[in-house]
């Protein structure tokens, strides 16, 4: 144990002497929380709509003003033909084009039904769906009003079934609540996978590892010495990130801190070991960085952080069983937003622990003092 103490003392001295470390520890969480949480939002802020009104009737103008009245839509009116609207779509000037046919008013009065055409720029699929959905519901609302107005008293009234959803744990559907715990996961994953591994492979590059390998330091002591300092930094950054999330977004932290930090410790051991394992098989920081980034991107995109895992194909969902981020994103969201207790996340916790122990073992095994 004394040996480990001297190793840790040396590692901490080196870490805090390194001028690029303090910015990494403090600036990275700030930027990730303050910039990424906003950037990773799925909410639509503004949708540009071009309206081509061939009808120019009271009804069509009413529909136009109905749409224009919603702050979310920015309407370009007075277009003469479809061609013009298509041009605007083409040049990315608008996201949607609504085409009201000449017979709009007539059809409405005679047949009680009419059709409009909507063209959508679907390059960004999810944004397209959201804006189309919103525009459709505005039009549906408009037609509902007409129906009510023209309904003859005494005639059969439509029975409306109104679904009134209650959103649990995030009642305002605040996207930031949803994203912030996930971004925190990315933060400590990056810290874990990069810092420890880079530190080890740097000793290889400078050559100091030879001197270590010729001492009686045990393999586990060396790996633990590279892991523990960054575990501490990771936990500190988690605390710092949570504080930022609390102050900036007023995010509720419903679960127990002990559970949160306990889980984060297990997870950090896992990702740190993985980074250290990668660096035991790499000779240069370049190699190690390349492999680590490749894994990070796969892990992050498949984790369910940005896109729901449930909408991935079956094989991808199965692959996710091997993705540590998948489990930890789940744990963080449920502990922070739902206030889940240990029994609620026991499966994820058990899996992460098994992963952490095996990869830690693997990193020690793969580190060779004698080549």
């Amino acid at each position: 144990m004394r040996t480990l103490y001297y190793i840790l003392q040396k590692e901490f001295t080196q870490i805090f002497r390194n001028k690029s470390m303090l910015p990494v520890i403090f600036v990275m969480p700030l930027i990730q929380m303050l910039v990424l949480v906003f950037a990773a939002t799925n909410e639509l802020r503004q949708v540009d709509v071009a309206i081509v009104d061939f009808d120019n009737s009271t009804s069509s103008r009413k529909l136009t003003s109905e749409i224009a009245g919603i702050p979310f839509f920015k309407v370009k009116q007075n277009l003469v033909n479809t061609q013009e609207a298509e041009d605007l779509l083409m040049r990315n000037k608008v996201d949607l084009a609504l085409i009201i046919p000449q017979s709009f008013d007539k059809d409405l009065t005679l047949n009680k039904s009419s059709e409009v055409q909507i063209l959508v720029d679907a390059i960004n699929g999810s944004a397209a769906q959201l804006s189309l959905g919103y525009l459709s519901s505005v039009i549906a609302g408009y037609s509902q009003k007409i129906l009510l107005k023209t309904a003859v008293p005494g005639s059969v009234m439509m029975k409306n079934i109104v679904v009134k959803p209650t959103y649990w744990f995030n009642p305002q559907l605040n996207f930031k609540y949803y994203m912030a715990p996930g971004i925190l996961v990315v933060l400590i994953t990056v810290i874990g996978m990069l810092l420890g591994g880079m530190n080890l492979v740097r000793e290889k590059e400078i050559g100091t590892i030879e001197q270590i390998n010729v001492t009686p330091i045990k393999k586990w002591q060396f790996i633990a010495g590279k892991l523990l300092p960054f575990l501490a930094i990771g936990l500190f950054d988690l605390a710092f990130g949570l504080l930022v999330a609390r102050l900036a977004f007023n995010i509720p932290i419903r679960g127990s801190f002990l559970l949160l930090f306990g889980m984060a410790s297990i997870y950090l051991v896992l990702v740190l070991s993985l980074g250290l394992f990668i660096s035991t098989i790499s000779d240069t920081q370049q190699q190690a960085t390349f492999v680590t980034f490749f894994m990070l991107i796969v892990f992050i995109l498949m984790s369910g952080l940005f896109t729901p895992v449930e909408s991935m194909p079956d094989w991808a969902q199965k692959l996710d069983y091997a993705n540590p981020l998948y489990y930890f994103v789940k744990i963080m969201r449920s502990v922070i937003l739902k206030g889940s207790n240990f029994p609620d996340i026991i499966n994820e916790a058990a899996t992460l622990s098994v992963f952490a122990a095996s990869i830690f073992g693997l990193a020690i095994f793969r580190y060779r003092k004698t080549s």
Binding site: T3, Y5, Q9, R17, G207, E210, T215, P216, T370
Partner: protein, 242 residues
């Protein structure tokens, strides 16, 4: 002080990298308390041999013992009993002299009081007492190498392995460095040193000369000069290498 008691025995040592034979059947013994010079041109296989004896590299075959321990099975026991200074400078440049000493003393399990006493003595001998809190990276190369050597023997190992310890330093510093080596020998440490400075070969008790992975000569500098009818080791080396 040299007895015939071997601290390193090497029998039929072979190291192959694929088809390349780096060490081709080496046989020698190093006796307790001597300075054993390991000479050879670049690429002759010196570093390979020294790395095997330090437990950094596994030999292909042979029967080797260092400080009484087997090179195949007891590398960690060997490591407790040796010091090593590699070709590549390997103290931590971002740490101070004091921090480097504290770290290496610590990992060899030295008691704090013992370490402090030896540190004081060592820095005094090197004339670096006032520089204890200087970063290694800020020191001139000659100082660094003397420090690296002193730290390599701080835990008083039985044997110290020096792989081209004086590469790139001026003659005065090299002279001072050899004085340190003699002091270490007086304390009973056996020194195994590789070099390609032939004047340094004269300082050794016995030298072996390697060429193409084999030991082609092994004796005291005097006998080698006599045998090859040369006035100095430089001539001996040129005659053998040719």
């Amino acid at each position: 002080m040299i007895t015939k008691e071997p601290v390193i025995t090497v029998k039929n040592m072979v190291k192959k990298f694929g088809h390349f034979v780096a060490n081709d059947n080496l046989n020698f013994e190093v006796y307790k308390g001597e300075i054993f010079g390991f000479l050879g041109a670049n690429g002759a296989g010196k570093t390979t041999a020294i790395r095997i004896l330090c437990g950094l590299s596994t030999p292909t075959s042979g029967e080797m013992k260092v400080a009484g321990f087997d090179v195949f099975r007891q590398t960690e026991k060997i490591k407790q009993n040796i010091g090593y200074m590699s070709q590549k400078f390997s103290l931590y440049e971002d740490l101070t002299i004091y921090q480097n000493i504290r770290f290496y003393g610590g990992v060899y399990g030295m008691k704090v009081a013992e370490r402090k006493a030896r540190t004081t003595e060592m820095l005094d001998r090197l004339g670096l007492t006032d520089y204890e809190n200087r970063k290694i990276g800020d020191l001139p190369l000659g100082w660094k190498q003397k420090l690296a050597f002193s730290i390599a023997i701080l835990h008083q190992p039985k044997i110290v392995f020096l792989d081209e310890p004086t590469g790139g330093v001026d003659p005065i510093t090299r002279r001072q460095f050899w004085n340190l080596i003699y002091e270490a020998v007086e304390k009973g440490i056996t020194v195994f040193v590789t070099t390609h400075y032939m004047d340094e070969a004269e300082y050794c008790d016995r030298v072996s000369i390697m060429a193409d992975g084999r030991i082609v000569a092994l004796d005291t500098p005097e006998k080698l000069k006599e045998q090859y009818n040369a006035s100095n080791m430089d001539e001996v080396f040129l005659k053998i290498a040719r």
